[in-house]
């Protein structure tokens, strides 16, 4: 029983982290790059209109950041719940 409660908490921690990461994923691509692109374009990043930059550059960099952040955080959660592979 105790084992299964602990695993439930582990899974909830994972899902919470997943949702946070996916919100960022959605905001930088679908939000900044598509839905609010016109508003974002009124700001400039060097010669890039910001919305255009997110659509063709920024979202891709953020995607990389999200994956490594998730990996790092998840490895910590794995250790905390003693389910890591070491």
């Amino acid at each position: 029983m105790e084992f299964s409660e602990k695993m439930k908490a582990y899974w909830q921690a994972n899902v919470r982290l997943l949702i946070t990461c996916l919100v960022v994923w959605f905001v930088v691509s679908f939000g900044f790059g598509i839905l609010f692109v016109d508003a974002m374009n009124s700001i400039n990043l060097g010669g890039y209109p910001l919305g255009f930059w997110f659509a063709q550059q920024g979202s891709i960099y953020t995607f990389i950041g999200i994956i490594f952040f998730y990996t790092w955080k998840m490895n910590k959660i794995d250790k905390e719940f003693d389910v890591d592979e070491e």
């Binding site: 582990y10 598509i34 550059q57 979202s59 995607f63 990996t71 794995d78 592979e85």
Partner: protein, 585 residues
């Protein structure tokens, strides 16, 4: 050295490398054949995944697509990278923990159903076969164009090279050759881009050059100038050109993302790493290696468009109406005219080249006042990458490198697809359903025979491409998005999803998506059989067939949920399987 000799030398050296690797990395067991013995380092796997993922289309065609679509092409850039976030977070670690060899393996076991396994195999085969036709055509075209070989012999050489390392090496041979192919292709893509960025903006990194000022001393930003130039010749503004509307960019981006995450040849790459944590990390590295090309491509596209417009319209401003005389055209135009990728027709008979958008009705009066009688330069998308080294006046070895890079991109993707096709036949159909007690040795033999047959079939289809080759990419992504991705997601995240729900969902998603594409593109893409016009007005709620995968996925989930509620609950032991998949140890 003569260019042709140089190309033969560089391409030949790259082949010798691939075949050498193949000889060194032969597969001795089914585990090595299907998943490289699960022993690939996560960074190495990331690099192999990047080569597997980036096809001839990414390498040769994408920059040209961006050049002509501007902002509108962002759907491809975000769609083909954002899918890796979904893979890393939602699928790869859990499927790696499950620990078998193929995608239908998971679907069949998780939904305790041979029907589900068969539906998964069918989706996998349709997706991978449609995808591979384009790759083999790409291989043949690259060979015949760069090596000046006949298309048939180009295909024979290409198939022999692929044969040498896929049939003997399986996943192990494929992985190590893909790593070498990645190095070749990324070098070939970025070197010309760096030189062009240096020439135009003075910045080494094209990603920065695109957002910087031009090096001509004017102090104008590259993108501002490009916007002005393209609107002056009748195209939509580069940075805001949303030719098919916000809704469709949204849906297309989403379809490409979930389609990417559902493509079997990408998913199986994450079965090859030793641990669950490696699967997560490896997806991150894959995206780093992909991003090197994908963040360079927007600069290549924009700068190529700028160079093209400025080469043809020689005046300070377009309105000066000074255009290039055909007699004085640069050498690269002459070179590529032979291939038909650039074509000049002197419509107004003035002996000069006019390049503009003659489809834009509101620009027509302006063009007429210049004395232009239609666009005179037909430019193929592919030229933006292929002719880049010549436009930038780079030495012959760079041109040879681009040839080797294009071939590497096509071969690496073809090999990955061939592997999932052959393993779905030898492992999922033969061992999983037809003859469960087959020995490992015979299964390995069956895998090699299936691979050989798949290569011959792909070669045949590449030489005689069905008329719909260009349409099939939309179909492959749409099907992956609407069938496999939702089934895998629900298998991991929804314990109560049972076999009836999953099978009904997959079939519903698959059929609605195929039907929607066929209604607009013709049944089995046979011309004249389309029921409705393929335009915004003809589309249901204005949804394009390319973007329909998203809707198909939603239908899949909805049907699966409803059916699961009405049918018996998932057995206890399956729920326990799901629980174990969720935990790394």
């Amino acid at each position: 050295m003569e260019l042709q000799t140089m190309i033969w030398l560089v391409v030949g050296a790259s082949f010798a490398l691939y075949i050498g690797i193949a000889f060194w990395a032969r597969a001795g067991s089914t585990s090595e054949f299907y998943v490289a013995g699960k022993g690939i380092h996560p960074v190495a796997n990331g690099m192999a995944t990047a080569a597997d993922w980036m096809s001839a289309a990414s390498f040769i065609s994408m920059a040209g697509l961006i050049a002509f679509m501007g902002y509108g092409a962002s759907a491809y850039l975000m769609g083909w990278t954002g899918g890796y976030v979904l893979l890393a977070l939602l699928l790869a670690p859990y499927l790696r923990k499950f620990g078998k060899f193929t995608v239908p393996d998971f679907i069949g076991d998780r939904f305790y159903s041979q029907t589900a396994r068969v539906v998964a195999v069918i989706s996998l085969l349709v997706i991978s076969l449609t995808y591979i036709v384009g790759q083999m055509t790409g291989v043949a075209v690259a060979f015949s164009r760069f090596l000046e070989l006949d298309l048939f012999w180009g295909m024979v050489v290409g198939m022999s090279v692929v044969f040498s390392y896929t049939v003997f090496g399986g996943m192990k041979g494929i992985t190590y050759t893909q790593i070498a192919q990645y190095v070749v292709l990324i070098f070939a893509y970025t070197v010309p881009a760096i030189f062009i960025s240096l020439q135009l903006t003075g910045w080494v990194l094209p990603q920065i050059g695109l957002g910087a000022t031009l090096a001509d001393g004017s102090g104008t930003f590259m993108l501002d100038k490009l916007n002005q130039v393209v609107t002056d010749i009748g195209f939509a503004e580069y940075t805001t050109n949303a030719s098919f509307g916000t809704l469709n960019i949204f849906l297309l981006t989403m379809s490409l993302m979930i389609g990417t995450a559902g493509l079997p040849h990408v998913i199986v790459r994450f079965f090859t790493v030793p641990k669950v944590r490696d699967a997560r990390k490896s997806a991150g590295w894959a995206l780093v290696f992909i991003a090197l090309l994908y963040t360079t491509a927007p600069a290549v596209g924009a700068m190529a468009m700028y160079n093209l417009a400025k080469t043809v319209h020689t005046g300070e401003n377009i309105s000066d109406n000074q255009t290039l005389s055909y007699e004085e055209r640069p050498q690269w135009v002459k070179n590529w005219e032979n291939t038909g990728l650039v074509k000049f027709t002197d419509k107004n008979g003035d002996g000069n080249i006019q390049f503009y958008n003659d489809k834009n009705a509101s620009f027509a009066p302006q063009a007429e006042s210049y004395g232009w009688k239609g666009n005179e330069l037909a430019v193929n998308n592919d030229i933006m990458v292929l002719a880049n080294p010549e436009i930038a006046k780079l030495p012959n070895w760079v041109i040879a490198l681009v040839a080797a890079g294009g071939i590497a991109a096509a071969l690496s993707t073809a090999a990955g697809l061939l592997l999932v096709i052959s393993s779905s036949i030898s492992h999922d159909l033969l061992k999983g359903i037809i003859s469960k007690d087959i020995t490992e040795k015979n299964e390995l033999l069956a895998g090699r025979i299936a691979m050989t047959v798949a290569i011959l079939l792909a070669g045949y289809l590449g030489l005689n491409p069905p008329g719909f080759a260009a349409q099939t990419v939309a179909l492959a992504f749409g099907l992956a998005a609407s069938s496999l991705f939702p089934a895998l997601m629900m298998g991991i995240f929804y314990k109560k999803m049972n076999r009836q729900g999953a099978v009904a969902g997959m079939i519903a998603g698959l059929l609605t998506t195929i039907l929607y594409i066929f209604v607009y593109k013709g049944f089995f893409f046979i011309p004249g059989t389309a029921l409705l016009p393929d335009t915004v007005d003809g589309w249901l709620f204005g949804i394009s067939p390319q973007g329909f995968g998203t809707i198909g996925a939603i239908i899949n989930v909805a049907v699966a949920m409803i059916v699961a509620k009405m049918t018996p609950e998932t057995p206890r032991e399956i729920q326990e399987l799901v629980e174990s998949v969720r935990i790394p140890r």
